[in-house]
Amino acid sequence: MMKNSKWALLILFFAALFLVHTAWAAEIPNLKVGYIFTTHHTPFMVALQKGEAFKSMGVYLRPVVAKDKYELVSNGKPIATLQLIVAKSGAETASLFARNQLDLAMASVTAIMAGVDKGTPMKILSPLQTEGMGLVVPKDSQLKDWNAFLAHAKKAKKPVKVGYHSPTSAPKIVLEGALKSSGIRVTEDPTNMSAQVLLVDLKETTNMIPALASKQVEAIVGPSPFPEVAVSRGVGKIIVDLRDLPPKGYWHDFPCCVTVASEQTIAKHPDVVQKFVELIAKTNAWCNKHRIEAGTLTAEWIGLPADTAKASKLVFLPKFTKSWMHGADKYMTILNSMGNFTSRLKGKTINEVKPVLFDLRFIDKVKL
């Protein structure tokens, strides 16, 4: 009898343990987080690597399986398991949201705008990074700065070919705007010989450096880390940081990547979304203060030469700024003029689409 009750107790103990474990496991949501192997997503990669060193922030990531699965820890308790999903582009990230394959992610604002326009249920939560865009010419070029480039474009007998990676990318929009404000005739039509600069769509960021190296274009305009990689691989030299283009100050904080969540995740796990936004915002601020360490950690994570990441001029935005919103509005105008929007964002300004595009509740609550 005694023996039987001992067994019963043991079974009860294990059953209780199993129930507690199941209940505990059930409490923690498993969320898929998308990011891209680019320096733009430095804060996330830094948070992944710094782990418990960020404990003092109140929220940090604890590795479960390196480079693959992490726990989001708040006040010492895990509140979610994050499964990392590496995407190749913002468009792919938006497409994964549309297929309900992502819960949280980082991606370019234009890709998210396009996705939201098509009806993908997702919202921009916070800004990520800005700046870091450069105009690169071949290493042996005589051109040394912006003024020399303008003079060359004005003197050249045929349009100067400048390669970009996407028609809706920030570097292309900023360069085109600055060239036009400097009185340069810009075209994308290769038959237009009266233009002074011909912008060439190279389709992918990966094609930019080979295009410059093989002299298919006379310059490239691209986001970080490509200008720095071109320098480090001995292919090119940066002649101007796009934030410094005229009119002065106009291109500061020009939007690039943002933090995004699916509407379902926001509705189901608002507390987790809040902590994730807090982690990114605080890590953004940390990265601005520790540029070298942040650059080194990112370089190690994605396999860049250390000097490339350290040379990066990216600025990480803990909060939205007026300048950022102004830039986002410029994107809206350009994407509308290109006919890219067909539905929810068609013909609208950034202020008109704020309720559709953004969920600012989380970032507004973050105290840095």
Binding site: F37, K69, V86, L96, T206, I209, I302, G303
Partner: protein, 280 residues
């Protein structure tokens, strides 16, 4: 065979590769641009240290092994399904008429065209998520096998194997089958002793072609979201960082592994199907 003839034979094998390397070296010196064409020595250095980690993606060997496992997973699935189906379609006219038209619709679709659908169906699910493995070494291995990748490789290998199996079975001379039936052989005996041996050369040839196509699908498969390993992904990531030397090393690795696997099939053909030459 004399020493001289052995030398001539080795020389014949090495002549074209050596000429190719000399030409590569000459063009590299002329261009002097490692992004367009890195030096032979630069690429060779990567092969001399195959276990060194490259661009934070793990070593060349690790990535080749991961890719090989992925290819074999998709390929074996294709073989297991295509061979029995091909035999059935080749032997029974009703099965052929029933399935051929439907399967032929999908045959011309390139594996890459399946990507959007595959992403919608499987997303980023892996064998780890399928079997509920969440941690540990088993998770690491199983998580590398994404269902979407296996499907893309499977679809690439499936049709060559299926077509060859159908063709092999249909090509078995009816006199052989009729003779066996007259002599009292049952269906199982006919399958085991006549159909399978007679169709085997064509089936193995299809498996050989299928494996080649499976390797060709690798880069597309490893470009799917969620992958951060494999030689296909290594090539793509190296291209992003303008590391053309790693791109070429990855391409050569794919070529070497593909050639070794092809050699395996050639050996089988040479040893087991010598009789096919005698029947010509």
């Amino acid at each position: 065979m004399g020493f001289q003839s052995i030398l001539v034979r080795i020389g014949a094998y090495l002549l074209i590769p050596v000429l190719f390397l000399v030409l590569w070296g000459a063009i590299d010196r002329q261009l002097d641009n490692e992004v367009i064409l890195p030096g032979v020595g630069q690429v060779a250095a990567l092969f001399l240290q195959p276990t060194e980690s490259l661009i934070a993606m793990g070593s060349l060997v690790t990535n080749v092994v991961i890719s090989l496992v992925r290819v074999l997973a998709g390929y074996l699935l294709a073989v297991c399904l295509a061979i029995p189906l091909g035999i059935l379609m080749g032997y029974y006219g009703t099965v052929y008429r029933l399935l051929n038209g439907f399967l032929a619709l999908f045959r011309p679709i390139p594996p890459l065209a399946w990507v959007p659908l595959v992403l919608a169906w499987f997303g980023v699910a892996s064998l780890a998520s399928m079997f509920g493995v969440e941690e540990g070494k088993a998770y690491l291995y199983l998580n590398n096998l994404k269902l979407s990748m296996i499907f893309i490789i499977f679809i690439g290998a499936f049709y060559p194997v299926l077509t060859s199996a159908i063709h092999g079975v249909m090509g078995v001379r009816s006199t052989l089958l009729d003779s066996a039936r007259v002599l009292g052989a049952g269906e199982w005996d006919i399958f085991r002793k006549i159909l399978l041996p007679a169709a085997a050369p064509s089936i193995v040839n299809g498996m050989r072609i299928g494996l080649g196509v499976a390797w060709m699908c690798l880069v597309s498969a490893e470009m799917l979201p969620g992958s951060i390993s494999g030689v296909g992904y290594l090539i793509t990531h190296a291209y992003t960082l303008a590391r053309t030397d790693i791109v070429i090393a990855g391409m050569i690795s794919i070529g070497i592994v593909g050639a070794v696997l092809d050699l395996f099939f050639r050996l089988i053909e040479d040893r087991k199907f010598v009789w096919t030459r005698l029947t010509r």
